[in-house]
Symmetry: C2
Subunit: 221 residues, 2 copies
């Protein structure tokens, strides 16, 4: 059976020299994970560098009191870059990763990863770029959590998560987890948005009515 060349799914890897790309493909394997699978979590060190072929993985942090905050998502074509930090580093993972959908991914063993880093400038760029994006994003989250108002953040999140019909199929609790706040706070804000006729809501789903107004709130102060 021939091994499918999944490297073409990753723009950053397409230009890999064949002498590099072949061992990469041969030494790693494609894994499938069902939606809801916990991929890693506090106390579980990841064992391989993961590249997503399909689906999305949500990386989040859970507080002692049970409140949650979503740190970022990994989608098809991306790598779970921060796993790398822990893959390479001395510490255990503090956050947890959950498959949001069924997921197909390439698992690159630690040794292969290390070898690739050594041998391919192209691969290094790919890894570091992914890293850079995540870290920049973490900075942004800190900024928002520390300094930004929830109404603004909620408007941004709704716009970000809406599908093409302007619908967001999440419960208040799930939105609260996205922003790292409490469910009641979200309920009240949504109520206020509804009062202003910016959204309409049913159990478990929100429809954006006035995207323009939401953008105005989300944008300039």
């Amino acid at each position: 059976m021939s091994i499918p060349d999944w490297t073409s799914h990753f723009p950053g890897l397409r230009k890999l020299e064949p002498s590099i790309g072949r061992p990469l493909v041969e030494n790693s394997k494609v894994v499938k994970l069902a939606a809801g699978t916990r991929i890693f979590g506090p106390g579980q060190s990841p064992e391989a560098y993961l590249l997503l072929l399909d689906g999305t993985v949500r990386v989040q942090q859970v507080s002692e009191t049970g409140r949650e905050i979503v740190l970022y998502r990994v989608s098809a074509g991306e790598s779970c870059a921060l796993t790398t930090a822990c893959l390479m580093g001395y510490e255990e993972y503090q956050a947890e990763g959950v498959a949001e959908t069924d997921v197909q991914a390439v698992a690159i063993p630690r040794t292969t990863f290390d070898e690739l880093i050594a041998r391919s400038a192209e691969f290094r760029r790919f890894v570091f770029t992914a890293f850079s994006m995540r870290v920049t994003n973490l900075f942004k989250i800190i900024d928002e959590v520390a300094f930004s108002r929830v109404d603004i953040r909620l408007a941004q999140k709704l716009l970000e998560l809406a599908d093409s019909q302007g619908r967001v199929a999440l419960t208040h609790q799930q939105l609260a987890s996205e922003l790292g706040t409490a469910r009641e706070v979200i309920s009240r804000q949504l109520h206020e948005f509804q009062r202003r006729n910016w959204i309409s809501a049913t159990r478990g789903e929100i429809s954006l009515v006035s995207i323009k107004d939401l953008q105005k709130l989300a944008g300039a102060p």
Copy 2:
């Protein structure tokens, strides 16, 4: 003039093969920066990988409204790992780095850095470990900012920043920046600590009186 072999200052670099260590030393140069120098900031991409020989660098984020939060500090023997993310990655730095004291550092040019990553497993481990620590720490900050009470965080910070005599030579404003909160909030909390006789304060300096009580607050919920 002989070039000083500063690699011995870095435990992670001591075991570098000479064939690797020599070019590292030869291609990089030692720089000195006066206290207060802004080393990098939003819009300024760093040009080199920095290893600190002496002094400390504070990395912080400034909000639109002027509030600040300290993300981490780089001390002697450490690398400003996250600079690397941006060094390697596609994006500009979102945070700013300021020399807190006079600083002596080794600046490794981008090309040399890349070459070292390629050639030395030892150096890779050094860089990734530093990375890992910072990222883990960023996770912790997000957790604390989002979920933890200021009185607890303030107690922790005081204990962390106290010198051997239990003194913290910072203004309320500076403490507020450490925690990403407002000065008034700190003033009130310190007042409360004082009322309970846990600290005593003079202009610009705080003395910890009952470290035990502070630890109790900082520790278990």
